[in-house]
């Protein structure tokens, strides 16, 4: 293992343990102020200052998930076949990253509702999310120590396939999450201003992991010699996936258009774009994966 890789592995482990520590403290701290906040009691200055540690924990979680994502991608680049366990690790790193923005939104809503004397049902969402992040961070730290450091002895690869497959997996996961989020907004409509505020930020956050993996693939391709973006089977697969995506998205979007014909100026006017982006991302990447393994 190169020296830089060893350093990154150590950073991942340290960030993992710090995140776990920070999350444990956050549980303890949040549970100590929750009864007071529910009863609309004033939070002392000391208690308020402790919220900074929760903020630092979230920053640690962002750094940890990004370093873990990098380590997983580096590991998957070398393995002969991407296993189901590897895909779970990849999904966990993406979810830990994305849920940080969920934590921020939830804690900010709780703070606002406490200030205005309103009920705070967000507590019951915040705890499971933090619990999931704790468990995922523990698994990723363990994997960083015992799996991702393993030396993988394989034949040299002139033309990489794993990164291409990985981009499709991440695209399918991000597309699915974005699509689910948009559909939830259709199913459980909230005030339009609230959807407008949340949908833009959420869409950007949901696209970040995909953009990062695409960037990594781009760097790998730039280094590859002779330079050729795709091999001919991948070009064929992408052609078939594009046709499938075009036909499916036209059908789904037409259906949506007809369903909302009388209320186009409302919900659909805000949600059509993220819906379309995530739908095409999910269909295209999913179809690419299907064709890659089918043939």
């Amino acid at each position: 293992m190169k020296r830089i890789e060893k350093i990154i592995s150590s950073i991942q482990t340290i960030l993992g343990f710090l995140s776990l520590l920070g999350l444990s403290f956050s549980f303890y701290f949040l549970e100590s102020i929750r009864p007071k906040m529910i009863r609309f009691e004033t939070i002392t200055a000391v208690e308020e200052s402790r919220i900074n540690i929760f903020g630092i924990t979230l920053i640690l979680l962002i750094a940890f998930s990004l370093v873990s994502l990098y380590k997983i991608v580096q590991y998957l680049k070398k393995v002969k076949k991407i296993s189901f366990y590897d895909l779970i690790l990849l999904s966990l790193a993406i979810l830990v990253f994305l849920f940080v923005f969920g934590d921020l939104a939830l804690i900010s809503d709780i703070g606002k509702q406490h200030k205005h004397g309103l009920a705070q049902p967000e507590w019951f969402v915040l705890y499971p999310v933090l619990g999931f992040q704790f468990l995922s961070s523990a698994i990723l730290t363990y994997a960083g120590l015992f799996r991702l450091r393993k030396k993988v002895k394989n034949e040299p690869v002139a033309r990489d396939i794993n990164i291409y497959i990985l981009v499709q997996y991440v695209g399918a996961v991000c597309g699915f999450l974005g699509l689910s989020f948009t559909i939830l907004n259709f199913g459980f409509p909230r005030p339009l201003w609230m959807i407008k505020t949340h949908i833009t930020a959420t869409s950007i956050f949901l696209l970040i992991p995909y953009l990062l993996v695409v960037l990594f693939w781009f760097i790998v391709k730039i280094k590859e010699k002779p330079k050729q973006w795709y091999d001919e089977k991948q070009i064929q697969e992408m052609g078939r996936s594009s046709l499938f995506t075009l036909l499916s998205s036209v059908i789904v979007v037409s259906f949506l258009f007809v369903l909302n014909f009388n209320s186009l100026e409302q919900l659909l006017s805000v949600l059509w774009f993220p819906f379309y982006i995530f739908l095409t991302l999910f269909l295209f990447c999913g179809a690419n994966l299907w064709f890659s393994f089918k043939d």
């Binding site: 034949e155 690869v157 396939i161 091999d231 991948q234 064929q236 089918k294 043939d295």
Partner: protein, 69 residues
């Protein structure tokens, strides 16, 4: 009629060349070689010529038409 090939046989006849080694030589992915061998993917003329050159045989010795559905 469909296109069949002797790629797998050639690989084994020439000293058990791995799919990855062949893929590296003709600069495609291992999955592409795997799909050609299974008859799921028909390569371009360019790739067929590269494969023939690698094995030092004529293209027809690797790829041929086969009667059937």
């Amino acid at each position: 009629m469909k296109i069949d090939n002797n790629l797998k046989k050639l690989r084994f006849d020439r000293g058990q060349i791995s799919q990855q080694k062949l893929a590296n030589a003709v600069f495609v992915t291992r999955l592409t070689i795997h799909s050609i061998e299974n008859g799921k993917f028909v390569p371009s003329t360019y790739l067929s010529l590269k494969l023939a050159k690698f094995f030092n045989v004529k293209v027809e010795e690797i790829f041929f038409l086969k009667e059937g559905k």
